[in-house]
Protein backbone atom coordinates (compact mmCIF):
# COMPACT_ATOMS: atom_id res chain seq x y z
CA UNK A 1 0.00 0.00 0.00
CA UNK A 2 2.23 2.75 -1.25
CA UNK A 3 1.20 6.26 -0.43
CA UNK A 4 2.08 7.61 -3.86
CA UNK A 5 0.14 5.05 -5.87
CA UNK A 6 -2.73 6.59 -7.76
CA UNK A 7 -6.09 5.15 -8.71
CA UNK A 8 -4.95 5.01 -12.32
CA UNK A 9 -1.85 3.01 -11.42
CA UNK A 10 -3.94 0.50 -9.58
CA UNK A 11 -6.52 -0.11 -12.28
CA UNK A 12 -3.88 -0.36 -15.03
CA UNK A 13 -2.12 -2.96 -12.91
CA UNK A 14 -5.42 -4.82 -12.75
CA UNK A 15 -5.56 -4.94 -16.54
CA UNK A 16 -8.16 -2.27 -17.19
CA UNK A 17 -7.66 -0.46 -20.47
CA UNK A 18 -7.22 3.26 -20.92
CA UNK A 19 -10.46 3.24 -22.92
CA UNK A 20 -12.43 1.66 -20.08
CA UNK A 21 -10.86 4.10 -17.64
CA UNK A 22 -12.13 6.99 -19.77
CA UNK A 23 -15.59 5.44 -19.87
CA UNK A 24 -15.58 5.12 -16.09
CA UNK A 25 -14.63 8.77 -15.72
CA UNK A 26 -17.43 9.91 -18.04
CA UNK A 27 -20.02 7.79 -16.22
CA UNK A 28 -18.90 8.96 -12.80
CA UNK A 29 -18.90 12.60 -13.90
CA UNK A 30 -22.40 12.17 -15.33
CA UNK A 31 -23.72 10.46 -12.21
CA UNK A 32 -22.48 13.34 -10.07
CA UNK A 33 -24.11 15.85 -12.38
CA UNK A 34 -20.84 17.53 -13.36
CA UNK A 35 -20.54 19.69 -16.47
CA UNK A 36 -18.97 18.93 -19.84
CA UNK A 37 -15.43 19.17 -18.50
CA UNK A 38 -16.25 16.95 -15.53
CA UNK A 39 -14.98 13.74 -17.11
CA UNK A 40 -11.50 15.09 -17.80
CA UNK A 41 -11.33 16.55 -14.29
CA UNK A 42 -12.19 13.14 -12.86
CA UNK A 43 -9.60 11.48 -15.10
CA UNK A 44 -6.91 13.99 -14.19
CA UNK A 45 -7.59 13.57 -10.49
CA UNK A 46 -7.53 9.80 -10.60
CA UNK A 47 -4.31 9.82 -12.60
CA UNK A 48 -2.42 12.19 -10.36
CA UNK A 49 -3.89 12.25 -6.86
CA UNK A 50 -2.50 9.72 -4.43
CA UNK A 51 -5.18 7.41 -3.09
CA UNK A 52 -6.80 8.90 -0.03
CA UNK A 53 -6.36 6.88 3.15
CA UNK A 54 -9.69 6.20 4.82
CA UNK A 55 -10.24 5.09 8.39
CA UNK A 56 -13.68 3.61 8.92
CA UNK A 57 -14.68 3.44 12.59
CA UNK A 58 -17.72 1.78 14.13
CA UNK A 59 -19.50 3.07 17.22
CA UNK A 60 -22.98 2.16 18.40
CA UNK A 61 -24.54 0.89 15.18
CA UNK A 62 -26.05 -2.13 13.42
CA UNK A 63 -23.64 -2.27 10.43
CA UNK A 64 -26.48 -1.61 7.98
CA UNK A 65 -24.37 1.22 6.51
CA UNK A 66 -21.58 -1.26 5.70
CA UNK A 67 -24.14 -3.72 4.38
CA UNK A 68 -25.49 -1.05 2.08
CA UNK A 69 -22.03 0.17 1.05
CA UNK A 70 -20.85 -3.24 -0.17
CA UNK A 71 -23.84 -3.38 -2.55
CA UNK A 72 -22.87 -0.27 -4.49
CA UNK A 73 -23.22 -0.77 -8.23
CA UNK A 74 -22.06 2.56 -9.67
CA UNK A 75 -19.20 2.57 -8.92
CA UNK A 76 -18.76 -1.03 -7.78
CA UNK A 77 -17.65 -1.17 -4.20
CA UNK A 78 -14.60 -3.26 -5.12
CA UNK A 79 -13.40 -0.38 -7.29
CA UNK A 80 -13.86 2.03 -4.43
CA UNK A 81 -12.26 -0.08 -1.74
CA UNK A 82 -9.48 -1.69 -3.76
CA UNK A 83 -8.62 1.07 -6.21
CA UNK A 84 -10.04 4.47 -5.52
CA UNK A 85 -9.32 4.86 -1.84
CA UNK A 86 -6.95 3.18 0.50
CA UNK A 87 -9.24 1.72 3.14
CA UNK A 88 -6.62 1.29 5.80
CA UNK A 89 -8.87 0.44 8.70
CA UNK A 90 -12.38 -0.99 8.93
CA UNK A 91 -12.68 -3.42 11.83
CA UNK A 92 -15.68 -5.20 10.33
CA UNK A 93 -14.12 -6.21 7.01
CA UNK A 94 -10.36 -5.95 7.53
CA UNK A 95 -8.10 -8.99 7.83
CA UNK A 96 -6.14 -7.74 10.82
CA UNK A 97 -7.62 -8.00 14.29
CA UNK A 98 -6.86 -7.00 17.88
CA UNK A 99 -3.59 -5.16 18.55
CA UNK A 100 -2.54 -5.40 14.89
CA UNK A 101 -5.67 -3.58 13.83
CA UNK A 102 -5.27 -0.97 16.54
CA UNK A 103 -1.69 -0.39 15.46
CA UNK A 104 -2.91 0.66 12.01
CA UNK A 105 -4.95 3.46 13.56
CA UNK A 106 -1.90 4.93 15.27
CA UNK A 107 0.26 4.44 12.18
CA UNK A 108 -2.24 6.24 9.92
CA UNK A 109 -2.64 9.04 12.42
CA UNK A 110 1.07 9.75 12.41
CA UNK A 111 1.90 9.02 8.79
CA UNK A 112 -1.05 10.87 7.21
CA UNK A 113 -1.67 13.55 9.81
CA UNK A 114 -4.28 15.94 8.43
CA UNK A 115 -4.53 13.98 5.19
CA UNK A 116 -6.81 11.02 5.85
CA UNK A 117 -10.57 10.83 5.86
CA UNK A 118 -12.31 9.58 8.97
CA UNK A 119 -15.53 7.76 8.14
CA UNK A 120 -17.70 7.10 11.16
CA UNK A 121 -20.48 4.57 11.22
CA UNK A 122 -22.54 4.70 14.41
CA UNK A 123 -22.19 7.13 17.26
CA UNK A 124 -20.65 7.49 20.70
CA UNK A 125 -22.69 7.09 23.91
CA UNK A 126 -21.66 9.64 26.55
CA UNK A 127 -23.43 8.30 29.62
CA UNK A 128 -21.24 6.65 32.33
CA UNK A 129 -18.14 8.18 30.68
CA UNK A 130 -18.83 6.35 27.43
CA UNK A 131 -18.83 2.87 28.99
CA UNK A 132 -21.71 1.70 26.79
CA UNK A 133 -19.42 1.33 23.79
CA UNK A 134 -15.98 -0.07 24.53
CA UNK A 135 -13.70 -0.57 21.55
CA UNK A 136 -10.23 -2.07 22.08
CA UNK A 137 -10.53 -1.61 25.85
CA UNK A 138 -11.31 2.10 25.65
CA UNK A 139 -14.54 4.07 25.35
CA UNK A 140 -15.33 4.65 21.68
CA UNK A 141 -15.80 8.36 22.25
CA UNK A 142 -12.12 8.74 23.26
CA UNK A 143 -10.89 6.89 20.19
CA UNK A 144 -13.20 8.91 17.99
CA UNK A 145 -11.97 12.26 19.31
CA UNK A 146 -8.35 11.13 19.02
CA UNK A 147 -8.69 10.07 15.38
CA UNK A 148 -10.80 13.07 14.44
CA UNK A 149 -8.16 15.45 15.76
CA UNK A 150 -5.75 14.40 12.98
CA UNK A 151 -8.23 13.83 10.16
CA UNK A 152 -8.66 16.02 7.08
CA UNK A 153 -12.42 15.65 7.10
CA UNK A 154 -15.03 13.44 8.68
CA UNK A 155 -17.82 11.54 6.99
CA UNK A 156 -20.82 10.70 9.17
CA UNK A 157 -22.25 7.52 7.71
CA UNK A 158 -25.92 6.96 8.27
CA UNK A 159 -28.50 8.37 10.62
CA UNK A 160 -26.61 7.15 13.73
CA UNK A 161 -23.56 9.29 13.11
CA UNK A 162 -25.60 12.14 11.60
CA UNK A 163 -28.56 12.42 13.97
CA UNK A 164 -28.37 9.70 16.63
CA UNK A 165 -30.94 7.29 15.16
CA UNK A 166 -32.47 4.45 17.21
CA UNK A 167 -30.02 4.45 20.12
CA UNK A 168 -30.65 8.18 20.60
CA UNK A 169 -34.44 7.77 20.42
CA UNK A 170 -36.34 8.63 23.59
CA UNK A 171 -35.45 7.92 26.36
CA UNK A 172 -31.88 7.39 25.08
CA UNK A 173 -30.51 5.59 28.18
CA UNK A 174 -26.92 5.56 26.96
CA UNK A 175 -27.00 9.26 25.99
CA UNK A 176 -25.90 8.45 22.46
CA UNK A 177 -25.16 11.62 20.48
CA UNK A 178 -24.46 12.34 16.80
CA UNK A 179 -20.75 12.71 16.10
CA UNK A 180 -20.94 16.46 15.47
CA UNK A 181 -21.60 16.85 19.21
CA UNK A 182 -18.12 15.53 20.02
CA UNK A 183 -16.20 16.55 16.86
CA UNK A 184 -16.56 20.28 16.62
CA UNK A 185 -13.41 21.43 14.87
CA UNK A 186 -13.50 19.40 11.63
CA UNK A 187 -15.70 19.63 8.57
CA UNK A 188 -18.31 16.87 8.73
CA UNK A 189 -20.24 15.50 5.76
CA UNK A 190 -23.49 13.97 6.94
CA UNK A 191 -24.72 11.11 4.82
CA UNK A 192 -27.90 10.18 6.68
CA UNK A 193 -30.20 7.25 6.02
CA UNK A 194 -30.85 3.99 7.78
CA UNK A 195 -28.87 2.88 5.88
CA UNK A 196 -27.78 5.51 3.32
CA UNK A 197 -28.12 4.49 -0.33
CA UNK A 198 -25.01 2.60 -1.50
CA UNK A 199 -24.48 4.81 -4.56
CA UNK A 200 -24.79 7.91 -2.41
CA UNK A 201 -22.05 6.61 -0.12
CA UNK A 202 -19.65 5.71 -2.91
CA UNK A 203 -20.63 8.88 -4.76
CA UNK A 204 -19.57 11.03 -1.81
CA UNK A 205 -16.25 9.18 -1.52
CA UNK A 206 -15.64 9.49 -5.27
CA UNK A 207 -16.29 13.23 -5.10
CA UNK A 208 -13.92 13.84 -2.20
CA UNK A 209 -11.28 11.64 -3.81
CA UNK A 210 -11.63 13.32 -7.20
CA UNK A 211 -11.68 16.95 -6.18
CA UNK A 212 -9.81 16.76 -2.87
CA UNK A 213 -12.49 18.85 -1.19
CA UNK A 214 -15.91 18.36 0.37
CA UNK A 215 -19.00 18.48 -1.82
CA UNK A 216 -21.32 21.45 -1.39
CA UNK A 217 -23.34 20.93 1.78
CA UNK A 218 -26.72 22.20 2.88
CA UNK A 219 -27.45 24.01 6.17
CA UNK A 220 -27.50 20.71 8.03
CA UNK A 221 -24.26 19.42 6.53
CA UNK A 222 -25.69 17.04 3.93
CA UNK A 223 -24.28 16.91 0.37
CA UNK A 224 -26.65 18.94 -1.80
CA UNK A 225 -26.19 16.68 -4.80
CA UNK A 226 -28.02 13.85 -3.03
CA UNK A 227 -30.06 15.57 -0.29
CA UNK A 228 -31.40 18.76 -1.85
CA UNK A 229 -34.81 17.34 -2.73
CA UNK A 230 -37.43 15.45 -0.84
CA UNK A 231 -38.61 11.96 -1.70
CA UNK A 232 -41.97 13.66 -2.41
CA UNK A 233 -40.48 16.03 -5.01
CA UNK A 234 -39.34 13.24 -7.31
CA UNK A 235 -41.78 10.50 -6.32
CA UNK A 236 -43.32 8.71 -9.27
CA UNK A 237 -46.65 8.64 -7.34
CA UNK A 238 -46.67 12.44 -7.02
CA UNK A 239 -49.34 12.90 -9.76
CA UNK A 240 -51.75 10.91 -7.57
CA UNK A 241 -51.01 13.25 -4.66
CA UNK A 242 -51.73 16.35 -6.73
CA UNK A 243 -54.87 14.77 -8.13
CA UNK A 244 -56.17 13.83 -4.69
CA UNK A 245 -55.93 10.06 -5.18
CA UNK A 246 -54.83 8.32 -2.01
CA UNK A 247 -54.53 4.85 -0.58
CA UNK A 248 -57.12 4.80 2.26
CA UNK A 249 -56.50 1.25 3.54
CA UNK A 250 -53.54 -1.07 2.97
CA UNK A 251 -55.68 -3.62 1.13
CA UNK A 252 -58.00 -1.34 -0.82
CA UNK A 253 -58.39 -0.91 -4.57
CA UNK A 254 -56.36 2.32 -4.46
CA UNK A 255 -53.38 0.48 -2.99
CA UNK A 256 -53.57 -1.96 -5.89
CA UNK A 257 -53.65 0.93 -8.35
CA UNK A 258 -50.56 2.47 -6.79
CA UNK A 259 -52.12 5.69 -5.50
CA UNK A 260 -50.27 8.11 -3.19
CA UNK A 261 -49.45 6.80 0.32
CA UNK A 262 -49.77 10.24 2.00
CA UNK A 263 -52.78 9.25 4.11
CA UNK A 264 -51.00 6.07 5.20
CA UNK A 265 -48.35 8.19 6.92
CA UNK A 266 -45.75 8.34 4.15
CA UNK A 267 -42.97 10.71 5.28
CA UNK A 268 -41.88 11.45 1.71
CA UNK A 269 -43.01 15.10 2.02
CA UNK A 270 -40.60 15.72 4.90
CA UNK A 271 -37.67 13.49 3.97
CA UNK A 272 -34.56 14.62 2.11
CA UNK A 273 -32.94 11.71 0.33
CA UNK A 274 -32.28 10.36 -3.15
CA UNK A 275 -34.40 7.17 -2.94
CA UNK A 276 -36.96 8.28 -5.51
CA UNK A 277 -34.23 9.03 -8.08
CA UNK A 278 -31.28 6.71 -7.36
CA UNK A 279 -33.41 3.93 -5.81
CA UNK A 280 -31.90 0.82 -4.23
CA UNK A 281 -30.05 -2.33 -5.27
CA UNK A 282 -28.80 -1.03 -8.60
CA UNK A 283 -31.96 1.00 -9.17
CA UNK A 284 -34.41 -1.88 -8.72
CA UNK A 285 -36.92 -0.27 -6.35
CA UNK A 286 -37.46 1.84 -3.23
CA UNK A 287 -40.01 1.61 -0.38
CA UNK A 288 -42.81 3.62 -2.03
CA UNK A 289 -42.43 1.65 -5.25
CA UNK A 290 -42.90 -1.50 -3.16
CA UNK A 291 -46.18 -0.13 -1.78
CA UNK A 292 -44.98 1.04 1.63
CA UNK A 293 -44.73 4.67 2.71
CA UNK A 294 -41.40 6.32 3.41
CA UNK A 295 -40.59 6.23 7.16
CA UNK A 296 -38.24 9.20 6.92
CA UNK A 297 -35.15 7.22 7.96
CA UNK A 298 -32.71 9.91 6.81
CA UNK A 299 -34.33 12.63 8.95
CA UNK A 300 -33.34 13.83 12.41
CA UNK A 301 -34.94 11.84 15.24
CA UNK A 302 -37.23 9.91 12.91
CA UNK A 303 -37.93 7.24 15.54
CA UNK A 304 -39.64 9.87 17.69
CA UNK A 305 -41.77 11.36 14.90
CA UNK A 306 -44.11 8.41 14.67
CA UNK A 307 -46.44 6.77 14.11
CA UNK A 308 -45.00 5.60 10.79
CA UNK A 309 -48.52 4.96 9.50
CA UNK A 310 -50.26 8.25 10.31
CA UNK A 311 -49.98 11.64 8.70
CA UNK A 312 -49.81 13.61 11.96
CA UNK A 313 -47.02 12.92 14.43
CA UNK A 314 -47.73 12.24 18.07
CA UNK A 315 -46.97 14.99 20.58
CA UNK A 316 -45.96 13.07 23.66
CA UNK A 317 -46.14 15.99 26.08
CA UNK A 318 -49.92 15.70 25.85
CA UNK A 319 -50.20 11.94 26.33
CA UNK A 320 -48.82 9.06 24.38
CA UNK A 321 -51.47 9.00 21.63
CA UNK A 322 -52.05 12.76 21.25
CA UNK A 323 -51.41 14.56 17.99
CA UNK A 324 -51.95 18.18 16.87
CA UNK A 325 -55.58 17.51 15.91
CA UNK A 326 -56.58 15.71 19.08
CA UNK A 327 -55.03 18.46 21.21
CA UNK A 328 -56.46 21.24 19.03
CA UNK A 329 -60.00 19.88 18.90
CA UNK A 330 -60.04 19.18 22.65
CA UNK A 331 -58.77 22.68 23.42
CA UNK A 332 -61.24 24.30 21.02
CA UNK A 333 -64.12 22.34 22.54
CA UNK A 334 -63.04 23.34 26.05
CA UNK A 335 -62.79 27.02 25.10
CA UNK A 336 -66.12 27.05 23.26
CA UNK A 337 -67.73 25.29 26.24
CA UNK A 338 -66.26 27.84 28.64
CA UNK A 339 -67.51 30.67 26.44
CA UNK A 340 -71.01 29.19 26.38
CA UNK A 341 -71.07 28.99 30.18
CA UNK A 342 -69.67 32.52 30.41
CA UNK A 343 -72.32 33.80 27.99
CA UNK A 344 -75.00 32.01 30.01
CA UNK A 345 -73.92 33.65 33.28
CA UNK A 346 -73.76 37.01 31.49
CA UNK A 347 -77.30 36.57 30.15
CA UNK A 348 -78.68 35.55 33.54
CA UNK A 349 -77.06 38.63 35.08
CA UNK A 350 -78.66 40.84 32.44
CA UNK A 351 -82.09 39.27 32.95
CA UNK A 352 -81.90 39.70 36.71
CA UNK A 353 -80.92 43.35 36.33
CA UNK A 354 -83.68 43.94 33.78
CA UNK A 355 -86.18 46.64 34.62
CA UNK A 356 -83.77 48.40 36.94
CA UNK A 357 -82.29 51.66 35.71
CA UNK A 358 -78.68 51.63 34.52
CA UNK A 359 -76.13 52.47 37.10
CA UNK A 360 -73.72 55.19 36.32
CA UNK A 361 -70.35 53.80 35.21
CA UNK A 362 -67.54 54.69 37.57
CA UNK A 363 -65.09 56.18 35.16
CA UNK A 364 -64.71 58.15 32.00
CA UNK A 365 -62.86 56.69 28.95
CA UNK A 366 -59.22 55.97 29.57
CA UNK A 367 -56.23 56.23 27.39
Amino acid sequence: MSATETFYDVIRRQGITRRNFSKFCSLTAASMGLGATGASQVAHALETNPRVPVIWMHGLECTCCSESFIRSAHPLVKDVVLSMISLDYDDTIMAAAGHQADAILQETRQKYKGKFILAVEGNPPLNEDGMFCIDGGRPFVEKLKEMAADAMAVIAWGSCASWGCVQAAKPNPTHAVPIDKVITDKPIIKVPGCPPIAEVMTGVITFVNTFGRLPELDRQGRPLMFYSQRIHDKCYRRPHFDAGQFVEEWDDENARKGFCLYKMGCKGPTTYNACSTVRWNDGVSFPIQSGHGCIGCSEDGFWDKGPFYERLSNIHQFGIEANADKIGIAATAAVVGAMAIHAGITAVGRLRANGKPHDTPPSAPQK
Binding site: E248, E299, I315, A324
Partner: protein, 240 residues
Protein backbone atom coordinates in the same frame (compact mmCIF):
# COMPACT_ATOMS: atom_id res chain seq x y z
CA UNK B 1 -78.98 68.86 15.83
CA UNK B 2 -82.34 69.49 17.32
CA UNK B 3 -82.17 67.52 20.53
CA UNK B 4 -85.48 68.80 21.73
CA UNK B 5 -87.21 67.32 18.74
CA UNK B 6 -85.55 63.94 19.15
CA UNK B 7 -86.44 63.98 22.79
CA UNK B 8 -90.03 64.46 21.77
CA UNK B 9 -89.95 61.44 19.51
CA UNK B 10 -88.32 59.24 22.08
CA UNK B 11 -90.72 60.36 24.72
CA UNK B 12 -93.41 58.81 22.63
CA UNK B 13 -91.67 55.45 23.16
CA UNK B 14 -90.83 56.09 26.74
CA UNK B 15 -87.09 56.07 26.21
CA UNK B 16 -84.31 58.39 27.19
CA UNK B 17 -82.11 59.78 24.48
CA UNK B 18 -78.65 61.07 25.10
CA UNK B 19 -75.87 62.51 22.99
CA UNK B 20 -72.99 60.01 22.70
CA UNK B 21 -69.33 60.58 22.22
CA UNK B 22 -67.53 58.91 19.39
CA UNK B 23 -63.82 58.66 18.75
CA UNK B 24 -62.23 57.82 15.41
CA UNK B 25 -59.94 54.97 16.41
CA UNK B 26 -59.47 52.40 13.62
CA UNK B 27 -58.02 54.09 10.55
CA UNK B 28 -58.82 52.79 7.09
CA UNK B 29 -55.64 50.70 6.60
CA UNK B 30 -56.29 48.94 9.90
CA UNK B 31 -59.88 48.13 8.94
CA UNK B 32 -58.98 46.90 5.47
CA UNK B 33 -56.19 44.77 6.91
CA UNK B 34 -58.52 43.36 9.59
CA UNK B 35 -61.09 42.05 7.12
CA UNK B 36 -58.57 40.80 4.56
CA UNK B 37 -56.79 39.00 7.38
CA UNK B 38 -60.06 37.48 8.59
CA UNK B 39 -60.88 36.23 5.10
CA UNK B 40 -57.36 34.80 4.63
CA UNK B 41 -57.48 33.05 8.00
CA UNK B 42 -60.81 31.45 7.14
CA UNK B 43 -59.40 30.07 3.88
CA UNK B 44 -56.21 28.99 5.66
CA UNK B 45 -58.10 27.14 8.43
CA UNK B 46 -60.20 25.16 5.97
CA UNK B 47 -57.50 24.38 3.42
CA UNK B 48 -54.91 23.76 6.14
CA UNK B 49 -57.12 21.17 7.75
CA UNK B 50 -57.76 19.57 4.35
CA UNK B 51 -54.03 19.36 3.63
CA UNK B 52 -53.60 17.29 6.80
CA UNK B 53 -56.82 15.34 6.16
CA UNK B 54 -57.43 15.31 2.40
CA UNK B 55 -60.99 14.60 1.21
CA UNK B 56 -61.90 11.10 0.03
CA UNK B 57 -59.90 9.76 -2.88
CA UNK B 58 -61.01 10.47 -6.41
CA UNK B 59 -61.23 7.69 -8.98
CA UNK B 60 -60.15 7.57 -12.59
CA UNK B 61 -57.00 8.87 -14.16
CA UNK B 62 -54.69 11.14 -12.19
CA UNK B 63 -54.52 13.48 -15.17
CA UNK B 64 -58.27 14.16 -14.86
CA UNK B 65 -57.99 15.75 -11.42
CA UNK B 66 -56.05 18.40 -9.55
CA UNK B 67 -57.92 18.40 -6.24
CA UNK B 68 -54.97 18.44 -3.84
CA UNK B 69 -53.27 20.92 -6.15
CA UNK B 70 -56.17 23.38 -5.90
CA UNK B 71 -56.43 22.98 -2.12
CA UNK B 72 -52.73 23.64 -1.72
CA UNK B 73 -52.85 26.54 -4.16
CA UNK B 74 -55.67 28.19 -2.14
CA UNK B 75 -53.63 27.68 1.03
CA UNK B 76 -50.47 29.15 -0.47
CA UNK B 77 -52.30 32.07 -2.08
CA UNK B 78 -54.15 32.95 1.14
CA UNK B 79 -50.94 32.52 3.16
CA UNK B 80 -48.95 34.84 0.90
CA UNK B 81 -51.76 37.41 0.92
CA UNK B 82 -51.92 37.24 4.70
CA UNK B 83 -48.15 37.66 4.95
CA UNK B 84 -48.08 40.68 2.63
CA UNK B 85 -50.95 42.38 4.47
CA UNK B 86 -49.34 41.59 7.82
CA UNK B 87 -46.14 43.23 6.62
CA UNK B 88 -48.09 46.29 5.41
CA UNK B 89 -49.94 46.37 8.73
CA UNK B 90 -46.59 46.41 10.53
CA UNK B 91 -45.37 49.30 8.38
CA UNK B 92 -48.63 51.15 9.04
CA UNK B 93 -47.92 50.99 12.77
CA UNK B 94 -45.17 53.54 12.17
CA UNK B 95 -47.55 55.98 10.50
CA UNK B 96 -50.91 55.29 12.15
CA UNK B 97 -52.40 56.48 15.42
CA UNK B 98 -51.70 55.04 18.87
CA UNK B 99 -54.27 52.25 18.48
CA UNK B 100 -52.56 51.00 15.32
CA UNK B 101 -49.34 50.36 17.26
CA UNK B 102 -50.91 48.23 19.98
CA UNK B 103 -50.59 45.01 17.97
CA UNK B 104 -46.81 45.10 18.16
CA UNK B 105 -45.93 46.00 21.73
CA UNK B 106 -47.22 45.60 25.28
CA UNK B 107 -46.50 48.29 27.90
CA UNK B 108 -45.52 45.76 30.57
CA UNK B 109 -43.47 48.39 32.40
CA UNK B 110 -46.48 50.58 33.14
CA UNK B 111 -48.28 50.06 36.41
CA UNK B 112 -51.38 51.43 34.78
CA UNK B 113 -51.37 48.50 32.38
CA UNK B 114 -51.26 45.81 35.09
CA UNK B 115 -53.87 47.62 37.10
CA UNK B 116 -56.17 47.75 34.07
CA UNK B 117 -55.43 44.09 33.27
CA UNK B 118 -56.47 43.05 36.77
CA UNK B 119 -59.63 45.08 36.50
CA UNK B 120 -60.47 43.55 33.12
CA UNK B 121 -59.89 40.04 34.49
CA UNK B 122 -62.30 40.84 37.33
CA UNK B 123 -64.81 42.14 34.78
CA UNK B 124 -64.73 38.79 32.97
CA UNK B 125 -65.01 36.96 36.30
CA UNK B 126 -68.18 38.98 37.08
CA UNK B 127 -66.41 40.52 40.07
CA UNK B 128 -66.85 44.17 39.03
CA UNK B 129 -69.97 45.82 37.74
CA UNK B 130 -68.45 47.92 34.97
CA UNK B 131 -65.46 47.50 32.70
CA UNK B 132 -63.24 50.48 32.16
CA UNK B 133 -63.46 52.13 28.81
CA UNK B 134 -60.60 52.36 26.38
CA UNK B 135 -60.13 54.04 23.05
CA UNK B 136 -58.06 51.13 21.70
CA UNK B 137 -57.67 47.64 23.16
CA UNK B 138 -58.31 47.05 26.83
CA UNK B 139 -55.21 45.66 28.60
CA UNK B 140 -56.43 42.05 28.52
CA UNK B 141 -57.24 42.26 24.82
CA UNK B 142 -53.93 44.03 24.23
CA UNK B 143 -52.06 41.18 25.91
CA UNK B 144 -53.94 38.48 23.98
CA UNK B 145 -53.51 40.33 20.69
CA UNK B 146 -49.77 40.57 21.08
CA UNK B 147 -48.92 37.17 22.54
CA UNK B 148 -51.45 34.99 20.76
CA UNK B 149 -52.33 36.79 17.56
CA UNK B 150 -49.17 38.69 16.62
CA UNK B 151 -46.61 36.15 17.82
CA UNK B 152 -48.84 33.31 16.61
CA UNK B 153 -49.14 34.86 13.16
CA UNK B 154 -45.40 35.49 12.93
CA UNK B 155 -44.80 31.84 13.88
CA UNK B 156 -47.28 30.65 11.26
CA UNK B 157 -45.79 32.90 8.57
CA UNK B 158 -42.23 31.70 9.28
CA UNK B 159 -43.09 28.00 9.50
CA UNK B 160 -45.51 28.32 6.58
CA UNK B 161 -42.95 29.85 4.25
CA UNK B 162 -40.32 27.37 5.45
CA UNK B 163 -42.63 24.50 4.47
CA UNK B 164 -43.40 26.24 1.18
CA UNK B 165 -39.67 26.54 0.50
CA UNK B 166 -39.35 22.75 0.60
CA UNK B 167 -41.41 22.52 -2.56
CA UNK B 168 -39.93 25.68 -4.08
CA UNK B 169 -36.43 24.22 -3.78
CA UNK B 170 -33.19 24.68 -1.85
CA UNK B 171 -32.05 27.55 -4.06
CA UNK B 172 -35.35 29.45 -3.96
CA UNK B 173 -35.78 32.87 -2.37
CA UNK B 174 -38.08 31.30 0.25
CA UNK B 175 -35.40 28.80 1.28
CA UNK B 176 -32.90 31.64 1.67
CA UNK B 177 -35.32 33.74 3.74
CA UNK B 178 -36.91 31.04 5.87
CA UNK B 179 -34.51 28.07 5.70
CA UNK B 180 -33.26 28.95 9.21
CA UNK B 181 -36.45 27.41 10.57
CA UNK B 182 -34.92 24.00 9.84
CA UNK B 183 -31.96 24.77 12.06
CA UNK B 184 -34.43 25.02 14.95
CA UNK B 185 -36.46 22.00 13.80
CA UNK B 186 -34.04 19.85 11.74
CA UNK B 187 -36.78 17.36 10.87
CA UNK B 188 -39.41 19.20 8.85
CA UNK B 189 -42.05 16.76 10.13
CA UNK B 190 -41.82 18.78 13.36
CA UNK B 191 -42.50 21.97 11.43
CA UNK B 192 -45.63 20.32 10.01
CA UNK B 193 -46.69 19.29 13.52
CA UNK B 194 -46.23 22.73 15.07
CA UNK B 195 -47.70 24.53 12.06
CA UNK B 196 -50.77 22.33 12.46
CA UNK B 197 -50.89 23.02 16.20
CA UNK B 198 -50.69 26.73 15.29
CA UNK B 199 -53.86 26.30 13.22
CA UNK B 200 -55.71 25.38 16.39
CA UNK B 201 -54.13 28.17 18.43
CA UNK B 202 -55.33 30.77 15.91
CA UNK B 203 -58.69 28.99 15.60
CA UNK B 204 -59.21 29.28 19.37
CA UNK B 205 -58.03 32.88 19.21
CA UNK B 206 -60.61 33.64 16.51
CA UNK B 207 -63.38 32.03 18.57
CA UNK B 208 -62.49 34.03 21.70
CA UNK B 209 -62.02 37.19 19.61
CA UNK B 210 -65.52 36.93 18.11
CA UNK B 211 -67.10 36.06 21.46
CA UNK B 212 -65.37 38.92 23.26
CA UNK B 213 -66.24 41.41 20.51
CA UNK B 214 -69.93 40.48 20.55
CA UNK B 215 -70.11 40.40 24.35
CA UNK B 216 -68.25 43.67 24.82
CA UNK B 217 -70.41 45.31 22.19
CA UNK B 218 -73.46 44.43 24.30
CA UNK B 219 -72.02 44.67 27.80
CA UNK B 220 -69.15 47.12 27.96
CA UNK B 221 -71.04 50.28 26.99
CA UNK B 222 -68.81 50.92 24.00
CA UNK B 223 -69.12 49.86 20.38
CA UNK B 224 -66.95 47.01 19.04
CA UNK B 225 -68.20 45.38 15.86
CA UNK B 226 -69.34 48.50 14.02
CA UNK B 227 -66.09 50.18 15.06
CA UNK B 228 -64.14 47.82 12.81
CA UNK B 229 -66.43 48.83 9.94
CA UNK B 230 -66.79 52.58 10.43
CA UNK B 231 -63.62 53.09 12.42
CA UNK B 232 -65.52 55.02 15.09
CA UNK B 233 -65.85 53.88 18.67
CA UNK B 234 -68.96 55.05 20.45
CA UNK B 235 -69.06 55.36 24.23
CA UNK B 236 -72.56 54.60 25.40
CA UNK B 237 -72.59 56.42 28.69
CA UNK B 238 -75.81 57.90 29.86
CA UNK B 239 -73.93 60.92 31.15
CA UNK B 240 -71.04 62.44 29.32
Amino acid sequence: MDYAKIADISELKGQIVVARRTVYVYQAPVRIWHWVNAACLTVLFITGYLIAWPPGSLGGEASAHYQMGYIRFAHFAAGQTLAVFFLMRFVWAFFGNAASKQLFWVPVWKKNFWDGLWNEAKWYAFAVKFPRQYVGHNPLAHLMMFFVFTLGTVFMICTGFALYSQGAGEDSLWAKLFGWVFLIFPNSQDVHTYHHLGLWVLCIFAAIHVYAAVREDIMSRQSMISSMISGERQFRDDKV
